[in-house]
């Protein structure tokens, strides 16, 4: 009985060798694919390219900011229901908010470039002053997703702010009637009878 079982379990040594070779080859192929994936070359941007990306981002931010400012200016130049002084107050308020938004977007650009919070704030101030003078000129580039996200958010918030400013300027009504009655020049019937002219 035990001899028969031993005979049944007997395996040709050549098959064992073939299986071992196959297993080793498969393991080597898998290992090689892991090594290939880990050591695969990946492209990186140079410092000059990152500078160009930053310039392009600044340019996009400035264009959005200028569009918002222009829209408020155009709205104010229309014939509005409010006085020019009231329109000027609203325009100044939203211009300031747009400037603050641009500052914040530039700060985010600084942070995306690895600057510390203080350095980003300083960079944003310098960049805003630079952008007020002229748009940066650099070759056109497609923005990295991280930088485009800043531009896109700036665009959304600028639209909201500008729409709000325009609404305030165009929907504001002139001074509403006072709750307390005031004297007017309209004639009223006199309570005391006056002699009527006789013929």
């Amino acid at each position: 009985m035990s001899q028969r079982r031993a005979a049944g379990l007997r395996v040709d040594i050549r098959i064992v060798r073939a299986v071992i070779v196959a297993v080793v080859l498969i393991a080597a192929a898998i290992g090689l694919s892991f090594v290939a994936a880990a050591s695969a070359p990946t492209i990186r941007a140079t410092n000059a390219e990152l500078d160009t990306q930053r310039s392009s981002t600044e340019r996009a931010i400035e264009r959005i900011y200028a569009t918002g400012i222009d829209q408020l200016k155009t709205t104010r130049s229309l014939k509005l229901a409010i006085t020019d002084a009231q329109a000027a107050v609203i325009q100044t308020k939203y211009n300031d908010q747009l400037a603050a938004l641009r500052q914040s977007a530039l700060q985010a650009v600084g942070a995306a470039n690895g600057l510390t919070a203080d350095a980003s704030a300083q960079y944003a101030q310098q960049a805003a002053a630079r952008l007020d003078a002229a748009l940066p000129s650099s070759p056109p580039v497609m923005l990295a997703p991280r930088l485009y996200a800043i531009v896109e958010r700036m665009g959304q918030l600028t639209s909201q702010l500008t729409d709000q400013g325009i609404r305030e300027m165009t929907q504001a009504t002139p001074a509403s009637p006072s709750a307390t009655p005031t004297l007017t020049g309209t004639p009223r019937p006199s309570t005391t009878p006056s002699p009527s002219p006789t013929r």
Partner: protein
């Protein structure tokens, strides 16, 4: 005249190698050349960019480190399209993207100096700076 015994062992691998060489894109082999970024264009017009695993034994292609083009019209950017990194969607897709072969129209290699490739390169460098 009798051929030397090792002749078949030399000729057969050479012939096999020559046949395989006509079918394999040398540039797509691992450890060869620079990074390979593929552009996969779908029959419905969508396009994705990334590292493509094209295993002929499966019915799907696998793409990793995936980017696609977004609309940037009216955003003040130099191009009217933007590169978006896949993974920021609400379902936060992870572990690559499997694509049905029958939905693919064209697969192309992305030029490493192209605007898309440079944007991807810049994104990676910015990611490293942010760490």
């Amino acid at each position: 005249m009798k051929l030397p015994w090792m002749l078949p062992w030399l000729v057969a691998p050479i012939l096999a190698g020559a046949v395989v060489a006509t079918m394999v894109d040398v540039g797509s082999l691992p450890f060869v050349g620079t990074e390979k970024i593929s552009a996969v264009f779908f029959t419905d017009g969508q396009a994705y960019f990334g590292h493509l695993d094209d295993n002929p034994l499966t019915g799907t292609l696998t793409m990793r480190d995936v980017y696609y083009l977004g609309d940037a019209k009216g955003r003040g950017t130099d191009y009217e399209a933007s590169v978006v990194k896949r993974g920021t969607e609400v379902h936060q897709p992870a572990d690559g993207m499997r694509i049905r072969r029958d939905k693919v129209l064209v697969i192309e290699r992305v030029g490493l100096t192209s605007p898309v490739a440079r944007a991807i390169a810049a994104q990676r460098s910015l990611d490293e700076r942010a760490r």
